[in-house]
């Protein structure tokens, strides 16, 4: 008897656990990146959208690679990431409906104040990379196939260096998100490639400062797309599209531009509508 | 359900024989005491009779059993009674409920037997906080409440002080007087004389003799029994 009672109680509680999900039925799931979530942008802009439409936006923040994979599996309604090449492939493969450009921020190279590669204050990211490799100065890479990681690798290729040769030596892959990678860089006084948003909201900087910024090649474009309802029928087409439309609308773009940490604007809207 | 007949009963663990080829007939009425030195197999014999162990050879026959499960008509009290983690009353009710009695009938019956063993005022107390003597009295009450035809007692007073032993012996007499067949093992020769009508003397798994108590103590049939009575314990 006690057993049966316990079982029912358990099932009731399981129902209870689901209660928040049932109570808020109007919601969409957005697969996005750690950079947008951790910089605090979503906390700033989503309430504006939710207030206007009554649609709750649930953000699962991962690396761009994982976020796109979530979209491919049909576990998200909208994907909001920053790796143009991968995004275009995502749409071309039929997983996304149409890609819209939303905003950009920029990447920066951070490094220890001691600056063993002697590159502080320069603007040329490629030259900076070459000096780091030449000095065999420690460099912490995310190594997680995220958008930031992809951008970092692209620049190594431009610089004509295969960082894998330094693997285990000066080149360290953390295999984790931006935050953990910055934690690692901070503790071992390594250089690291990061988006400005995460850097500005990052607290455990230790001796790290920005060493290279302002290069055209550090431009970081974000795109947004609805997951293809033709491929995954359960995708919340209308609500998802409402969100996409709002993000690229004048109102959404203003919400992005308004977000600042201190005096710094983190993201620069550039939707082509 | 008596008489009880053991027919060439044997029990061994692996290749070690514990009980060897015992045949005996135990009648209704007289109180039967199983005597023998440590390790003779007394407790095992009792567990075989009670059905807690299965014989490796031979048969146990209850000649008077009219219907059903022989276990329903017998009860056993162990040397160390296991008290359930609940009240004294609930311990007695537990056995009655298993026997299929209604809750109300069980509680009435349980209070009756607790009264008889002198634990009525402790009915609501947790069984495990009772003293050793009280716990053994409770174990007797729990067994007696079932109204068994046969009550097995395995060294029921081995761990008790003289006063508690006296209480237990009085209760055993009362149970006997109520018509329940008593079969018990003991180390205590004085207790055997006080409580026994007949003796089964066991040594090294063998039944040495079955005799009325008077004759057993006056003229034991075997040298081992004689030595056991004199307390010479040659097997130690």
């Amino acid at each position: 008897m006690a057993l049966i009672r316990g079982l029912f109680l358990g099932l009731a509680l399981l129902g209870l656990a689901q209660a928040p999900a049932v109570a808020q039925q109007k919601f969409i799931t957005v697969a996005s990146t750690t950079s947008t979530e951790q910089s605090g942008l979503f906390k700033h802009m989503l309430p504006v959208f939710e207030k206007k439409t009554g649609i709750q936006v649930r953000v699962v923040a991962q690396g761009t690679g994982q976020a796109l994979d979530m979209g491919r599996r049909g576990d998200a309604d909208v994907v909001f990431v920053h790796d143009k090449v991968a995004e275009e492939k995502f749409v071309a493969d039929g997983f996304g409906v149409q890609r819209f450009e939303v905003m950009y921020n920029d990447f920066v190279l951070v490094g220890p104040k001691a600056d063993p590669a002697k590159i502080a204050g320069t603007k040329d990211i490629v030259a900076g990379y070459q000096k780091i490799a030449a000095a065999k100065a420690p460099f912490a890479s995310r190594g997680d196939k995220s958008g930031t990681h992809a951008a970092e690798l692209r620049l190594w290729r431009v610089a004509g260096i295969d960082p894998q040769t330094g693997k285990g030596g000066w080149y360290r892959e953390t295999g984790s998100g931006m935050g953990p990678t910055l934690n690692t860089a901070s503790s071992m006084n390594a250089y690291a490639f990061t988006d400005r948003g995460t850097w500005l909201s990052f607290k455990n900087r230790g001796d790290l400062v920005i060493v290279v910024e302002g290069d055209q090649q550090l431009f970081n474009q974000y795109g947004i797309m609805l997951v293809n309802p033709a491929r995954h029928t359960h995708v919340k087409k209308e609500m998802g599209q409402t969100f996409v439309d709002w993000v690229v609308s004048a109102e959404g773009q203003k919400a992005i531009a308004d977000y600042k940490i201190g005096a710094d604007q983190l993201f620069f809207p550039n939707a082509k509508r | 359900m008596l008489p009880l007949e053991l027919d060439r009963l044997s029990f061994s663990v692996g290749s070690t024989p514990i009980i060897e080829d015992i045949s005996v007939r135990i009648e209704a009425g007289p109180r039967t005491i199983i005597l023998g030195p440590n390790g003779a197999g007394k407790s095992v014999l009792m567990r075989l009779c009670h059905g807690l162990l299965q014989p490796t050879a031979g048969r146990i026959v209850w000649h008077g059993l009219r219907n059903g499960d022989p276990r329903r008509h017998q009860a056993m009290v162990f040397q160390r009674p296991v008290m359930l983690r609940r009240s004294a009353l609930a311990n007695v009710v537990y056995g009655l409920a298993l026997a299929g009695k209604s809750r109300r009938a069980s509680e009435l019956r349980a209070m009756d037997v607790l009264e008889v063993v002198g634990l009525a005022q402790h009915a609501g107390r947790p069984a495990r906080v009772l003293s050793g003597g009280e716990q053994q009295r409770l174990a007797l009450a729990r067994a007696w409440a079932l109204g068994p035809d046969v009550l097995f007692l395995d060294e029921p007073t081995a761990n008790l002080d003289p006063a508690s032993t006296q209480d237990i012996e009085n209760i055993i007499q009362a149970i006997h007087a109520s018509g329940t067949k008593i079969i018990m093992t003991t180390h205590n020769l004085g207790q055997a004389r006080r409580l026994g009508d007949e003796v089964l003397f066991i040594n090294k798994g063998l039944l040495m003799e079955q005799a009325p108590i008077e004759r057993f103590f006056r003229e034991p049939a075997s040298a081992e029994a004689g030595a056991f009575i004199k307390g010479e314990l040659p097997w130690h």
Partner: protein, 234 residues
Amino acid sequence: MTSLWEAFAAAWALIAGFDATLAQIVGLSLQVSLSAVLIATCFGLPLGAAIAVERFAGRQALIVLLNALMGLPPVVVGLLVYLLLSRAGPLGSLGILFTPTAMVIAQTLLIVPIIAALSRQTLEDAWREYDEQLRSLGARRLNAAMTLIWDTRFSLLTILLAGFGRAAAEVGAVMIVGGNIDGVTRVMTTTIALETSKGDLPLALGLGIVLIGLVLLLNTAAALLRELAQRRYG
């Protein structure tokens, strides 16, 4: 040293200024982990009891397996549940990925072996003591198992607490199947992971102290209950 002090200060500030967000996160943590413990008990306890009192072929192997499963990495369980509940997975149509329900399922899987294996040990020890007495009184297996569970209830409570501790402390599984969605599936451990990756180590550690405090509180309550019961029931 300074960051440790900062952590304690942060923990204190969190508790003193108990804000709605933190309350919601703590509440969800408790709700998810307690649900998981309850459901895991419904499966784990009968399983443990059955193994304790029954003798069957492969029993020893099952015990070894359960003991091994106690060390199941949460991330693996999380991944397994994720693949099951993902829209592309066999249970995708339920649509419960990234909900507290998914987290309850993952934690339940994680602690069923703990509750089954530990209760098996406790009940088997008790069974050794009770076996003959219960059979003498005419108890069948099911009766005996229920009696053992009732009589060892205070030891079993400790086992449930161990299960709760494991559930409340793990981060790998709930992160994957819950997605750490703000206000929906964000629990204490995923918040700690998030704050750590934001580099706000004092806040992360502060949250950790709050979590430990909660678990400590629960364990203290259980220990007191047990102590009281021991004195009362012997």
